[in-house]
Amino acid sequence: MKRRTLLRALAYASLLAPFGGIRAIAQSTKPSLITAFGHVPPPSDIKRIFAAGGPASVLLAVLAPHKMLGWPSQMSSKVLDALGSPLRDLPVLGRLSGRGSTIPTETLLALKPDLILDAGSVDDTYLSTAQRVTEQTGIPYVVIEGRLADSARQLLEAGRLLGAEARGNALADYAEEILSSAARVRKAIPLEKRPRVYYGRGQEGLETGMVGSLHMEAIDIAGGYNVAAQGGEKIGIARVSLEQIIGWAPEVILTQDGNFATRILEDPLWRTIPAVQTKRVYCAPTIPFGWLDVPPSINRLAGVIWLLAHLHSVGKDDLERKTAEFNRLFYGIEHASNTIPGLKTGGTQRRTQ
């Protein structure tokens, strides 16, 4: 029995193997990132928008916060305080994602949204779910596809759709600027010369994103070399062992978990890793949204700025001003460096949340 299970696992591993390897930064070549189901009203008539999941809620909070009906999941009070009104006062409504939905269909109808907005990495399960929701409820459903590399287009097209064209254009320009400075860095440094990065997720930091996964996009774009490159592409997150990490010998360790970052600097087990020896362990802020991932949306643009500074010393002296500018432009957060923990940059940062 056990042997058969093992054989089965091995069979899967071999199935997934061809997905591995290094992949170029993917940018969508579709004429439009938007897939719409049902009759989408003109932008001026869209007043109430339901954000189906995390990525859509960030896009909506950035572009048209006054039209947002609620959050797809519980937000921490720190995040809400940082965002301020009107986003702070929105209720938690639940998410809409097929069987994984937590909002009952009837509650959705009772909210009377003019539009359901969904964003992120899209597959056929996703699209057919959206189509069903529209068929059943009559509410138009718009899915905005796109990975981090498509952020500028995402902002542009979403802005036009949601009646926030000017804002969408301005933010798209800003996003384009960040992405093209990252592209310049990537062009200048060949893959094998890029800093070897390990991204530690989870409490123990023993989960990591595989090459081409959503979780590594910010790092890929900012010209980091993912040490977990031999993993599969379809797999988003994988658990790894400390042995593997020691073997990979990353020059930089990135995380969004402050406890992990401080712990490994003192942990004798991690001592031999170059990143720990040179104290290049960086903890990315997560307020209001994660800079490296979670949710996988345009919030990661801030992470790209931050990573360019830490991985390649590009704009390092200017980092604090730049990230504060990002927070002001995208989220309307003023005086960010005082209110947002972890924004001050340096070696490692503690994050209290």
Binding site: G94, T105, K112, Y126, G138
Partner: protein, 342 residues
């Protein structure tokens, strides 16, 4: 338990069950997250029956006819199908702990659906995969049991079912580990494995209802002979029953209905185990009475628990969690109660 309850006149019991299910059916129409008054509900139903215009807001019509009705019909279908399959299996395997997934149909369907979700396939394909893998799993189990001739065939079936089920569940667990928690794949898989009627639409029902009916017909036609399967094989054979063939027909029928309902609603646990017991408590162990009672009670049980699943808390609860929360205490109560009467 058997002698006392078999002596019960079946008519009041049926009446009781029938009235109960009608009440649950009405309640399922009336309760939900979208506030609809009884007056509006009756107006809308009346308008549908007479073909008149109810002059109600469109949203109310959508809620009643596009959301609640398919859900209620699906609940009845799933409950009836799982309870009938469970009753047939409990009789056939001469074991009260048997549920419809004993031969691996749910594990197979779960594996098929998980593969579909993992590779991001369209919903219809996921459902077909679930259905086909459910049938295939039982096919393999049946095939293996046909190869083994030295042991009791029923025992071999059960053991092969457990082995294949375990294997498939290992596959599901592996895919869960590999799936991405942030692309919502993982939650889709988890919710699928717990079953839910959220999102069942009339198109699903159009394909599921005929398949379930096809599966139920042989069970109804063979209801007298199923009783004899609870005898040892030799005795049944002595009474003129072709045991192996009857068993095969029942397995095909039960697998068909179970695979069908699992493919549209996911794995809804407990129904196939607990409802036949409740039915036996009401009408006794005679399969010709047990089957209709199980059909009715199963339909009522799932529609009833689904009311809880969609109204109990702000979010939508997976149906499998509610059937377990309601079913398990009820099962214990039945155990205690039947213990006393005996």
């Amino acid at each position: 338990m058997s002698t006392k309850n078999a002596a019960l006149p079946p008519v009041p019991a049926y009446l009781f069950a029938l009235l109960g299910i009608v009440a649950i059916f009405m309640a399922a129409f009336a309760f939900g997250k979208y506030p609809i008054s009884i007056v509006d509900l009756l107006r809308s139903i009346f308008a549908r029956l007479t073909g008149a215009d109810a002059e109600l807001p469109e949203a109310i019509e959508i809620v009643i006819w596009n959301i609640r009705l398919p859900r209620i019909v699906a609940g009845m279908l799933i409950g009836a199908a799982l309870a009938a399959a469970g009753a047939a299996y409990q009789n056939m395997f001469r074991n009260p702990l048997v549920s419809p997934d004993i031969l691996g149909v749910s594990a197979g369907a779960g594996f098929g659906a998980t593969i579909g979700i993992f590779f991001g396939l369209p919903l219809t394909v996921i459902q077909v995969l679930a259905f086909v893998c459910g049938l295939a799993a039982v096919g393999v189990v049946y095939g293996v049991s046909g190869l083994v001739r030295r042991h009791d065939p029923v025992l071999v079936l059960v053991l092969a079912g457990i082995a294949v089920g375990t294997l498939l569940n290992a596959g599901v667990s592996l895919l869960k580990i590999l799936s991405d928690p942030h692309s919502q794949q993982l939650s889709n898989i988890v919710f699928w494995l717990l079953g839910s009627l959220n999102g069942v639409n009339s198109r699903d029902l159009a394909s599921a209802v005929p398949l379930v009916l096809i599966g139920l017909v042989p069970m109804i036609l063979l209801r007298w002979r199923v009783n004899l399967l609870s005898l040892p094989d030799e005795e049944a054979a002595a009474l003129g029953i072709e045991v192996a063939r009857l068993r095969m027909v029942l397995i095909i029928a039960a697998t068909l209905v179970t695979a069908t309902v699992v493919s549209i609603a996911g794995i809804v646990g407990w129904v196939g185990l607990v409802v036949p017991h409740a039915a036996r408590f009401l009408v006794g162990p005679n399969f010709s009475r047990l089957l209709p009672a199980s059909l009715l009670l199963g339909a009522g049980f799932v529609v009833g628990t689904d009311i809880l699943a969609r109204t109990l808390v702000v979010i939508e609860l997976p149906l499998g969690i509610v059937t377990a929360m309601v079913g398990a205490p009820f099962f214990l109560y039945l155990l205690a109660h039947t213990g006393k009467t005996e």
